[in-house]
Symmetry: C2
Subunit: 306 residues, 2 copies
Amino acid sequence: MHVWVPYEEFVADVEQLAPDVQVAVYTGRDGVPADVGSVDFFVAPYATTAEALGVTNRMPELRVMQLLSAGYEHALPFLPSGVALCNARGVHDASTAELAVALMLASLRRIPRFVRAQDKHSWAPGQFDALADKHVLIVGYGSIGEAIDRRLRPFETTITRVARTPRPDDDVRGVEELPTLLPQADIVVMVTPLTPQTKGMVNAEFIRRMKHGALLVNVARGAVVDTSALLVALEEERIRAALDVTDPEPLPTDHPLWDAPGLLISPHVGGNTSAFLPRARRLVREQVARFANNAPLENIVVLGTR
Amino acid sequence: MHVWVPYEEFVADVEQLAPDVQVAVYTGRDGVPADVGSVDFFVAPYATTAEALGVTNRMPELRVMQLLSAGYEHALPFLPSGVALCNARGVHDASTAELAVALMLASLRRIPRFVRAQDKHSWAPGQFDALADKHVLIVGYGSIGEAIDRRLRPFETTITRVARTPRPDDDVRGVEELPTLLPQADIVVMVTPLTPQTKGMVNAEFIRRMKHGALLVNVARGAVVDTSALLVALEEERIRAALDVTDPEPLPTDHPLWDAPGLLISPHVGGNTSAFLPRARRLVREQVARFANNAPLENIVVLGTR
C-alpha cells in the first residue's frame, strides 16, 4: 500500500496504521516521489495548483483521491476513472463557524470602530448592540451551518435554520420560506454551497426584505451575494455586512466595497487557521485506516468515470 | 406602595404587579417626582451621579434601594439605615460574557489587522489562530465567569476555572494554583471583582508565567492589571492582550498603551448594550413583585446601618 500525504506531520500517523504501508510526502511544490506508479491512496495538497493535481495521470494504481477541502470541483478534471474522490467535509467546520460568529460579534459589538478609535488614541464609549436577544437566520444548514448554530445557542439568541430541502424533524425550513423569514431576522448568515440556485441569491429583492439595520454575514462564497445590490444597500445604510468572501475575489484595490459604510471585510480566512491541521490529520488517519481495513470510506463525493 | 423607576419602559410592568402601586420615573437628570416622601422601593438610575442618589435623604419611607449595576460601593453613602440595598447581579452577564468572547475571537482571528487592511484597500490573507483547541483560563468564576464558560464550550476549547475559593464539585480551582495553571493557558480571562487581593494581580510575575504568545483578556476592572508590567510584555511581544477596562480609565490621549503591539482596546463597553434594558426590566419586575408579595428579595448586598 502506497500513500502520499502533503505534510510531514502526517507521515508517522499513517505509517502506524498498517505494517506494509509506504508513505511519501508530496507537497505539489517540490519533486514527485519515486513510487508514483504504485500510489493507491493520494491525499492531495491543500489549496494547490492544477499542475500539482495533474500528477494523477501518472498513478495507474490509484484507488482514492482524498482532498483537504470541502469543495471538489477543481479536482474533477484530474480524477481517473474508477477512483473515489473524497472531500474534507467537517475539517473546516470549526474554523469557518468560528469566523462566522467572530464576524457577527465584531460587527455588533463595534470592534472595527474601536480599532479605528485606538489608532486615534480616542476613548469613545457608547451603547451598542449585543448578540444576546438577536434573531439569527442561518441560510444553508449543512455541517458548517450546524456548527454555527451550536456556537450561537449559549449566546441567548433565537435561531432559524434554512436549507434547500425542509427537514421538519431538525427544525430546518425550506428556502421557499425565505421571503417571510427574512423580515424577522436581525442577522442573516449565508453558508450555502455555490450552485446555480445560490449564485446571486442575496440580490436586491432579498436585501429589501431584510430588517432595517440587520447584519448580513457571508462565509459561503462571494458570488452568493450580488455585490452591486449589496453596495447600494450599504451606501444607503439600510443594512450592515461582514464578508469573508467577496465577488470579485481578491477584491481589487479600487473596488468601492472597501469603503462601504457598516462593512467589515476579512480576506477569505474562514478555513485556514490553526484548527485546520489537527482536523485534517485526524481525517487522513481515519480514511487511510478504513482503506487499509477494507472498510467503507467516508465523504465519497464522486467516483471517477473519466 | 410607591415605586420609582429610571425608565419609562418600566412603568407599565410595575403598575401591573399590584392594584395599589404608584409608579413615578426618576432619571436623576430631570425633576424629583412629587411623592418623594412616600417612596418605599427606589430603582436607582444606572451610571448616575452622587447628587442623583442623594435623593434618598428625602425618602423617610424607603425600604429598598435597587441598583442596576453589579457594583454597589458608590451607593453605600446614600443608603439610609434599615434599607436593603440590592444589586443587579446577572443583568450584565450576557453582555459582558459576550464581549469577553468577542475580544478573544477578534484578537485570535485578527479582526483588527483586517480592519486596518480594509482601510488601506489591502486583501492580505494568511494563516492565523483559531479559538478551537485553545486552553482558556477563566480567573474569577462568579456569574459572569460561568456565562463566559457556557459560551466558550461549543468552540472546542479546554476551560480551566479559577476562583478565590476552590469548589471541587464545580471543577473550580483556587487562586493559589495560578502559578502552575498559567503556563498551560493560551488565553487568560480576568473577570474578578476589584478587591485588595485582586488589585495588581496581573503583575510582572503573573505575566512571566504566561505562555509565550498567549492572550490576556480583561473584562474585570482596569486595576486588576499592572499597566506598566503589561506594557513591558506587549512591547517585547511576549503576550497579546484585549482590554475592555484600563488603568487609568479613560485612557489619556498620550498614554503609551494605545500604540502597544498586539493590543485591542474597547472603551469599557462590556455591560452597556442592547442586552441591558430587557434584563434590567425583568429584574425590576421580579424584585417589585417579591416586595409586593412580602417574599424575600434577591441580590441583597447590604442592609443600611447609617
